[in-house]
């Protein structure tokens, strides 16, 4: 191979990369919070809700899990305006990621809820706690502790999947890469560096989630 790599040609664009990186991080944080909230609702609906709500939530989960994220994104960004719902790039990206994580976390959290021993729920009920109190203080707390590692992996997967939002011109890290390579014609170098940044982001995200988990679930014993 005679080709020489020219990483120096990236240097003038470092601020664009930084901007894209920050955007990707913010996108991930917002949709993680919203997606987990949606998943908690979904899991509660599937476990404690009426039968029709369980079915409906189940359908949502299966549709999302069995279609590509990019198609979900295009449907939201291009398809919904035709139905009268107009969204800008960033909102569409956040919405798509939230809906996506919401489906996966519904199933993850549901498995956690099902692993909570029935006796604990009955004990809570016998202490005259309301259904909602039992759910919040007894069931969800235990469920989350159990499924936290699985949820963390899913968050990293969603973060990596977010590279696709560049396709609707949301200005994330991949968007920055596409822009830079169209200017300096060093596509391979740009994508190699950006892949490295994503790898770093994945490693940091995993570590951060582990740290948060240790803080939140640091209980007595065990």
């Amino acid at each position: 191979m005679t080709y020489k790599l020219h990483f120096a040609d990236l240097l003038p664009y470092w601020d664009l990369l930084l901007k894209g990186l920050v955007f990707t991080i913010l996108l991930t944080i917002v949709s993680t919070v919203a997606g987990t909230a949606l998943g908690t609702l979904g899991a509660s609906a599937r476990t404690f809700g009426p039968r029709w709500l369980d079915r409906l939530t189940g359908a949502y989960v299966e549709v999302i899990r069995n279609t590509p994220f990019i198609v979900q994104l295009f449907f939201i960004f291009f398809g919904l305006p035709a139905a009268g719902i107009k969204l800008n790039e960033t909102t569409a990206a956040v919405l798509a990621m939230t809906v996506n994580l919401g489906a996966y976390s519904t199933e993850i959290i549901r498995a956690g809820i099902q692993a909570v021993p029935k006796g604990h729920i009955e004990a809570g009920a016998s202490l005259a706690m309301s259904r909602l109190q039992v759910l919040r203080h007894v069931v969800l707390k235990q469920a989350f502790e159990k499924i936290y590692p699985a949820l963390s992996s899913q968050i990293v997967i969603v973060m990596l999947g977010s590279a696709v939002v560049s396709q609707i011109s949301a200005e994330d890290l991949t968007y920055a890469a596409n822009f830079i390579q169209s200017r300096n014609f060093r596509a391979f170098e740009v994508y190699l560096v950006v892949a490295g940044l994503y790898l770093l982001l994945a490693i940091v995200t995993r570590a951060a989630l582990r740290g948060i988990g240790r803080l939140v679930f640091r209980g007595p014993g065990r």
Binding site: P68, I70, L160, G161, A163, F188, A195, I203
Partner: protein, 216 residues
């Protein structure tokens, strides 16, 4: 008129679906082969081999599939080889698939009880004999449900090949949308077709998992 364009859209999408299926099959098969070779390396008990495989898996699981597609698309060209979207997509999906399958299968190998290794050990079998005759046949059984489950990820993963210009179901959707200006209909149909491909696989994986759990 509107009915006519519905059928035009649907038939064109279905034609493009052939390429989604073809890419999925090819990527899954070659990814599986590479994954199997990597599995041997990953559990070889040879330090540098295990370490290299680990780094490989870390890279392909820790970076976006889209980046990998770009890297192959622009990277192969550096060698002076003309790259078609098909070739780049096939290469990227093969590497990506193999990393995930290696990791899934490693989990299955490690799930085999230590006593099985020890029993084979005390029968004077070599490491490779133990792996081949004792561990892999058992690991293979428990690997089937998660492997089928992962095939869904491969089908969905092929959708990204549209971004580097591979004319699959997703790309056909984009092209038809540009031609007909009916995004809601087009992307609904695209989603529906993907669902029809993926849901049976998901369902089958789930069922396998249940029967395997009962059998144990």
């Amino acid at each position: 008129m509107s009915d006519f364009s519905f059928w035009v859209i649907l038939s064109n999408l279905l034609l493009a679906t052939r390429w989604t299926i073809a890419l999925s099959l090819v990527a899954f098969a070659s990814g599986g082969l590479v994954g199997l070779a990597l599995l041997f390396a990953r559990v070889s008990r040879i330090g540098w081999l295990e370490w290299t495989t680990k780094a490989y898996v870390e890279f392909f699981q820790g970076t976006p599939l889209l980046m990998q597609l770009f890297l192959f698309f622009f990277g192969v060209a550096l060698f002076g080889i003309e790259v078609s979207p098909w070739l780049a997509a096939w290469l990227a999906l093969t590497f990506w698939t193999s990393a995930f399958l290696t990791e899934i299968w490693r989990g299955c190998v490690e799930a085999i009880p230590k006593g099985q290794w020890e029993a084979a050990d005390t029968l004077a079998m070599s490491y490779m004999q133990q792996m081949w005759h004792v561990i892999l046949p058992q690991a293979f059984r428990i690997a089937i449900p998660p492997t089928v489950g992962f095939s869904v990820q491969v089908v969905k993963g092929t959708a990204l090949a549209s971004i580097i210009g591979f004319v699959d179901l997703t790309k056909a959707g984009t092209m038809l949308n540009n031609a007909t200006f009916r995004p809601f209909l087009v992307y609904s149909l695209v989603a529906l077709i993907y669902f029809a491909l993926c849901f049976p696989l998901s369902w089958f994986a789930h069922r396998l998992e249940r029967t395997f759990n009962v059998a144990r």
